[in-house]
């Protein structure tokens, strides 16, 4: 098992390296990013001071270097104008649009994103598992139809609409806070219990809004998988053994049906991040979604490059987690890894 995880980590590092190259190429591809625009403006003015300043900026951000060298400097494996200073050293670069270091801008947003997404995934799984299982076991009965109906509503309702509705009634009936990830008074404050509680309270509505459609899809998929498994001979064996139906379902077919369920964690993460941009804007969530949107529009490439890289890391970690869980769940995968 340890070897399996180690091997996966090694492949993960390789994948990340390739992804970082791709990200760098992509953010550099379209002409007219914010920095070159400013340099062009300065050059065009023709004034000596401006031209000198333009040269200085270009040198500062290694724009006078070939692209591959720029990439290496960005990653921090090649000495730039300030020595080794790139992502590997923790220097995430400079946002030209906001005129602040990238690290400052994304700092809290990154953690908020991680918290929001993991809570959403947990929410999705906690609700999808029993709902899907019940819908399958009681297939084509009232319970199944109700679960299916709720699922379709969840799939079909636009998220921002759901957000507005939930904020309205949440505030009216339960006194839930409206908008944002935390109360204003906690913004920028060090972590404390009060702050954690406040964040949790703010999380309730966004998690439901972002998670509902994913959950609905998951319920449908689990139901289909489990229905397939319920007809398998080993379920009959369990019944012939005298196992009570509920225990039999949980122990045998449900565990088999979990495979695709678990394998989805990796896919869900990037979907949640990119899919929740609009919702984050509507709900005023301080996640990296809106920042990413903004930085892509203005072609603020250190900022967008880093965020894309971060989402990739999130995805790969999700894949790793789902692979490890799969190996734990299914001995066949474990043994194939051992290469009998």
């Amino acid at each position: 098992m340890a070897r399996f995880i180690l091997r996966r980590c090694v492949t993960m590092i390789w994948t990340l390296a390739v992804v970082s190259v791709l990200v760098f190429i992509i953010v550099n591809l379209p002409p007219g990013d914010i920095l070159s625009n400013r340099i062009d403006e300065l050059m065009a003015s023709g004034e000596e001071a401006s031209v000198a300043q333009a040269r200085f900026i270009a040198a500062q951000y290694s724009l006078d270097q070939p692209l591959w060298k720029q990439y290496l400097i960005w990653m921090g494996v090649w000495p730039g104008p300030n020595g080794f200073s790139g992502i590997l050293q923790g220097d995430l670069g400079w946002s030209f649009e906001l005129d602040r270091p990238v690290a400052d801008i994304v700092g809290e947003a990154v953690w908020m994103t991680v918290v929001l997404n993991f809570t959403t995934i947990i929410f999705v799984y906690v609700f999808a598992l029993p709902l899907g299982a019940i819908a399958a076991v009681r297939a084509n009965t009232l319970v199944d139809y109700v679960a299916t109906f709720i699922g379709y509503i969840g799939l079909a309702t636009p998220n921002f609409l759901l957000a507005l509705v939930l904020y309205n009634y949440g505030a009216q009936w339960f006194g839930l806070p409206v908008g944002g990830m935390m109360g204003r008074e906690f913004s920028g404050q060090p972590l404390s219990w009060a702050k954690i509680l406040d964040v949790l309270e703010h999380l309730i509505v966004p998690v439901i809004v972002i998670g509902t459609s994913g959950m609905a899809a998951m319920v449908r998929r689990l139901r289909a998988n489990l229905l397939d498994e319920l007809g398998k001979p080993y379920v009959v064996t369990a019944a012939a053994k005298g196992l009570p139906p509920a225990r039999a379902v949980v122990k045998y077919p449900l565990r088999m049906a979990l495979n695709p369920f678990v394998a989805d964690i990796g896919n869900m993460l990037p979907q949640l991040v990119s899919g929740s941009v609009i919702v984050s804007v509507v709900m005023g969530l301080q996640t990296i979604g809106p920042i990413l949107l903004q930085s892509l529009r203005s072609q603020d490439y250190f900022l967008s490059g880093f965020i894309l890289l971060f989402v990739s890391v999130l995805t790969l970690v999700g894949m790793l987690v789902s692979d490890i869980l799969l190996a734990l769940l299914d001995p066949r995968i474990r043994f194939a890894g051992r290469g009998r």
């Binding site: 070897r3 091997r7 007809g231 398998k232 001979p233 080993y234 009959v236 064996t237 369990a238 019944a239 012939a240 053994k241 005298g242 196992l243 009570p244 122990k251 045998y252 565990r255 088999m256 769940l329 299914d330 001995p331 066949r332 043994f335 890894g337 051992r338 290469g339």
Partner: protein, 594 residues
């Protein structure tokens, strides 16, 4: 003293579906089972035998309903309960506790995600309230009892780590661990190789006499019945056509259907005809035929040892003759067929020759693609499973004319005409050309497969287990059809089978394969009358015959069915050092040290 039966089923009827579309699949079945008795329910697919077995345990599929009948189980103290009247929780106490069931497919009937120990111990936990160390001890004892060489290993093994025979032993252990009064075994050995089947049948018989339990054996194989059962119940289309003691039913059947079943059961004929000596006019031959698959690459670039699927095989098929290649799963028999057709490339050094009606000798092993296409027109193949080898989206007409189209033969009308001829040739009505495969039964589908193989007027047909998915009576008809076609069209056959008895009537020559090598090859008459190799002897001994006086010879099975290392001198060998084939009489070759 009147003995009360253990189980009395009266007027059992089972329906599938409800309302007007309901179909009665079991119609008023009665059966009586004494304590310690073994009863066989015999019938072909669709006879309702499995449904009857499952109905007793009330584990029918959701669509099925018991519509009438009683199943009275008598307890040790003489207390009677009607199984169909019990509440679900009380029924659960009987399932696995007093009545256990063994299923046909041990692989899919065991959960792949749980260890064998876990699954077997579960029954104990449920019914005997024994878990932890004591449960484990009882399980390990049961594992030893059902013949696991290493019970500790079995405890922590997953089903996919075990061989087919051991998996079925795990199923048996699961059924036996609570010491039930009755075990219902649903085709317990159908998915196993013949020699494994013989050993598992023997185990079940010993367990039954040892523990005094009763058994209901559901099977299609009268050979199994003759070896296992005290009495028989013959079922057809949901009804009991005949029942009585095994000896009476098998020797003096009263019902025509029983007689037909016995007649259709494959057996080795007493007196065999067929050619002797060497092949005079070969159509297809191969020498030095080997196939090595590279080992699987695992993890960090390490590679498992290569697998030698076929090693140094030499065979000759005579024109108008049938060569049967017989072996158990994994013996390399199907690989040989694929190599001969060049569906796979043999290892370098192999020599495959073909001489058709035109008298021209062709080297198949080094043929170009274009010539290969022409060669395949002359050598066709029929596969094992008629259900998956016909596209469900093509009408029979399309299926039969497709080969002609591929080779660009005839006009549309001519191809249609040819398809109609083919249907008649294989005994089907040309009026059914517009139908789709699902409208035909298994046997009819296999006829369509044969018609498709005949479409291009081939000189030779490779039959890869063409009857092993079929009922016995259908199997007999398909074999007769193949025999007739051979005579009529002068065909040559390469017939692949795992069952020696099936090939006994059809084959002129037989090659027995084990571990990728031919261990014995001879004209059929010599092979069956004078088998020499211990493995051949084991195969013959392991085939159950519907004859109560000829029970399985397990000593012979044990001598030859094991690994080559434990074969007696001069046949045994270690590793890849197989002894060469020696000619012991004209045309009869045996692998043995000189």
């Amino acid at each position: 003293m009147r003995v009360t039966p253990l189980l009395r089923v009266e007027g059992l009827s089972v329906c599938f579906g409800a309302g007007a579309g309901a179909m009665e699949v079991v119609k008023g079945v009665d059966l009586t089972l004494r304590r310690g008795e073994s009863l066989a329910i015999v019938g072909e697919s669709g006879s309702g035998k499995t449904v009857t077995g499952k109905a007793i345990l009330r584990i029918l599929p959701r669509a099925a309903r018991i519509t009438a009948g009683r199943a009275v189980l008598t307890g040790a103290g003489g207390k009677e309960v009607d199984l169909f009247g019990l509440s679900e929780p009380r029924m659960r106490a009987i399932r696995g506790g007093r009545i256990a069931m063994i299923f046909q497919e041990p692989m899919s009937s065991l959960s792949p995600l749980h260890t064998v120990g876990n699954q077997v111990a579960e029954a104990l936990r449920l019914h005997r309230k024994k878990s932890g160390a004591e449960g484990r001890r009882i399980c390990l004892e049961t594992f030893a009892e059902v013949g696991f060489p290493d019970p500790e290993r079995a405890w922590s093994a997953y089903p996919f780590e075990l061989s087919g025979g051991l998996r079925q032993r795990a199923m048996i252990a699961m059924a036996m661990v609570c010491r039930p009064d009755l075990v219902i075994a649903d085709e317990p050995t159908t998915a196993l190789d013949v020699t494994t089947q013989a050993q598992v049948l023997d185990l079940m018989r010993r367990l039954q006499t040892g523990t005094g339990m009763s058994m209901i054996m559901i099977t299609h194989d009268l050979g199994v019945v003759a070896n296992m059962a005290d009495s028989v119940l013959v079922m057809r289309r949901g009804e009991v056509v005949e029942s009585g003691p095994t000896r009476v039913i098998l020797t003096d059947p009263g019902h025509g259907y029983t007689r037909a079943l016995i007649a259709a059961a494959p057996k080795i004929p007493e007196c065999m005809s067929g050619g002797l000596g060497e092949v005079r006019d070969p159509i297809l031959w191969a020498r030095n035929l080997s196939k090595t698959y590279p080992g699987r690459i695992s993890g960090l670039g390490k590679q498992a040892a290569p697998v030698q699927a076929v090693q140094d095989v030499e065979i000759v098929i005579g024109r108008g003759e049938t060569l049967a290649v017989v072996g158990e799963s994994g013996s390399g028999k199907s690989t040989v067929a694929r190599l001969l057709l060049r569906a796979e490339d043999p290892d370098p050094g192999a020599e495959i020759g073909f001489r058709g009606r035109d008298g021209e000798t062709q080297d198949v092993a080094t043929m170009t693609r274009a010539r290969l296409k022409a060669f395949r027109r002359r050598v066709q193949i029929v596969f094992q499973d008629p259900y998956s080898s016909l596209s469900p989206r093509m009408s029979v007409l399309d299926i039969l004319t497709e080969p002609l189209e591929v080779h660009g033969l005839g006009t549309r009308a001519e191809r249609r005409q040819r398809a109609a001829e083919l249907m008649e040739k294989v005994g089907l009505s040309p009026a059914h050309l517009g139908r789709f495969p699902h409208a035909f039964s298994g046997g009819q589908r296999q006829r369509i497969c044969i018609a498709r193989a005949l479409a291009l007027d081939p000189e030779m047909i490779v039959c890869d287990e063409p009857t092993s998915a079929l009922d016995v009576s259908v199997q007999a008809q398909v074999l007769d059809l193949l025999k007739g076609l051979r005579k009529e069209m002068g065909l040559s056959y390469l017939f692949i089978s795992h069952d020696l008895t099936v090939v006994a009537e059809l084959a002129d020559r037989v090659a027995v394969m084990r571990r990728g090598r031919i261990v014995e090859q001879a004209p059929a008459k010599l092979l069956f009358e004078n088998p020499r190799h211990p493995y051949t002897i084991a195969l013959i001994a392991a085939s159950p015959e519907p004859d109560v006086n000829r029970r399985l010879d397990l000593a012979a099975v044990a001598r030859g069915a094991g690994d080559p290392e434990c074969w007696p001198e001069p046949f045994g060998y270690r590793g890849h050092q197989a002894p060469p084939l020696h000619e012991i009489e004209p045309g009869h070759y045996v692998s043995c040290a000189a």
